[in-house]
């Protein structure tokens, strides 16, 4: 079911708009005009994940070499720094098999809608 969560203008750039949909805390992000919706609970220790930071990260590389990438695609937990792919909710680069739930987002007439299943997950 699609829930209206606010006007597109209310979603700050790279900071979550935290909304409550049917008892689920969800962070809605806007990064370079792309929208993401992520469950606001870190699967590691249940921290408020969406109060973390959005940015890039260091890609796997050879010893002594640094390659920065995925700018704008990485959500980093404010507690233990676990990094997730904003789009898929997967932990990056195999640090853990756990993933955070993500939801489809769409904009109609400048209103933002997040689609969630019928039972809280």
């Amino acid at each position: 079911m699609k829930h209206r969560v606010g006007h597109i203008g209310e979603i700050p750039d790279r900071e979550a708009l935290i909304v409550n949909v049917d008892g689920r805390s969800i962070g809605v992000f806007k990064v370079d005009s792309r929208l993401y919706a992520v469950r606001n609970v870190c699967p590691h220790k249940q921290a408020p994940l969406c109060r973390g930071t959005v940015g890039g990260t260091m890609l796997p590389s050879k010893p002594g070499e640094l390659r920065y990438g995925l700018e704008g695609r990485v959500l980093k937990c404010p507690w233990h720094g676990w990094e997730f792919d904003l789009a898929t909710g997967e932990c990056l680069f195999g640090i853990s098999g756990r993933r955070v739930k993500t939801y489809p987002v769409e904009v109609r007439d400048d209103q933002v809608y997040v689609e969630v299943g019928s039972t809280p997950s």
């Binding site: 909304v19 409550n20 606001n40 249940q46 921290a47 969406c50 507690w79």
Partner: protein
């Protein structure tokens, strides 16, 4: 539809917190003073304010955590009124004490731990005293659940002992935080501090100062100098291992039998190995330390306590229970959150599978006995 600012992350926690009646004492909580020495100026004489003119910041280890802002303080723990996480006692009261129904929180200032980077004894001693007066005046009066591990500068053990005797009998003081210089704790250098602490009935609390391996006067790591944060954070336990061996074999607990030592945030998964190895060596080399008249592991069980955070995350969950059994956690482990640091443990999802009697010991009873706090102490 909007969530309020404060009901975010606990949505997930609420689901797993099956109405636990466990009472909680939190043995490792970190307050912060905005501006370092600048915030301490009101607690110094005019001459000392002049002395620190133009150098009001305490130094950081150059290897910072690769987290937002390169800080170890959780960015979601920043008080709404501004300042660093941990700097507002009213906000911490809501965000930690009220939220998790914590009966007592033992405050230790890791910021004060940076005193061990200072090569000047009088400066370190003056700052330690200012830190203590600050926390007594700005924190302990806010809520009686706050208790303080007062800090001392180990640079001058006689002055440190004076400081312990000055305030150590105040109700709000429950421990002595001893930021370590690069001198092992069994060394006689520290004995005046132990004597004063034992006299006041206060445990000595040690904790990584975050300066290890970064300054000449700070504790050195075994083998050499780690070159990344991940490396130095991983090897903190070796500091506790070295100091426990030193205290036990030098006979600190023979000289000061009532002295308790809290090893905060050094882990405990290694402690069974350490105890077994000490006992094994004692059978072989007892004649080198003839004042040790029983198995050295007994000193660990009787005189040393370990804080729980960061809770070990072994490959299989049952291993955690086995480790707790091996380390006699029903006597030796005290619960801690480490709020507001990045690696803090929430009381709601820590030790969830630990059987109730041991859980009660870890979350409350062991600490109540250690600090003389709460209803157990009255009984």
């Amino acid at each position: 539809m909007r969530a309020g600012k404060d009901d975010l992350g606990d949505e997930g926690l609420a689901k797993v917190a099956v109405v636990s009646k466990t009472r909680i004492i939190d043995s490792d909580v970190h307050p912060w003073i905005n501006g370092d020495i600048e915030g301490l100026l009101p607690y110094m004489s005019g001459a000392w304010r002049q002395r620190f003119e133009g150098r009001l910041r305490l130094p950081d280890h150059p290897l910072r955590p690769p987290l937002a802002g390169a800080t170890s303080i959780r960015r979601d723990a920043r008080p709404p009124g501004g300042g660093a996480g941990g700097s507002d006692p009213l906000f911490m009261k809501e965000d930690l004490l009220d939220r998790y129904n914590i009966e007592f929180a033992v405050l230790s200032s890791i910021q004060a731990g940076k005193l061990v980077t200072l090569p000047n004894t009088d400066e370190a001693t003056t700052l330690a005293r200012a830190f203590n007066d600050y926390f007594m005046n700005e924190w302990l009066v806010v809520d009686s659940r706050y208790r303080l591990a007062m800090c001392v500068a180990a640079h001058d053990p006689l002055e440190a002992a004076k400081e312990i005797r000055r305030i150590g009998n105040e109700e709000g003081i429950v421990a002595v935080f001893l930021p370590l210089l690069n001198i092992l704790m069994g060394n006689r250098h520290y004995y005046p501090i132990y004597e004063a602490a034992e006299e006041c009935g206060l445990p000595i609390l040690i904790h990584p100062t975050g300066t290890e391996g970064g300054f000449q006067t700070s504790v050195a790591f075994a083998g050499g100098i780690p070159s990344t944060y991940i490396e130095r954070h991983t090897v903190f336990p070796e500091v506790a291992m070295g100091n426990i061996a030193s205290m036990v074999f030098e006979g600190v607990f023979v000289r000061f039998p009532a002295l308790q030592v809290v090893a905060a945030e050094f882990g405990y998964g290694w402690a069974p190995h350490m105890m077994w190895r000490m006992d094994q060596n004692w059978r072989e080399f007892r004649r080198e330390v003839p004042w040790i008249e029983h198995e050295p592991s007994k000193f660990v069980l009787d005189n040393i306590r370990f804080t729980s955070q960061p809770v070990e995350e072994p490959e299989r969950e049952e291993y955690l229970l086995q480790i707790l059994e091996m380390v006699h956690a029903d006597r030796t482990v005290v619960f801690s959150t480490d709020y507001p640091h990045w690696d803090n443990d929430s009381p709601k999802n820590t030790f969830r599978r630990v059987p109730e009697p041991m859980k009660q010991r870890i979350f409350y009873d062991n600490a109540a006995e250690l600090y003389g706090l709460g209803t157990l102490a009255e009984a």
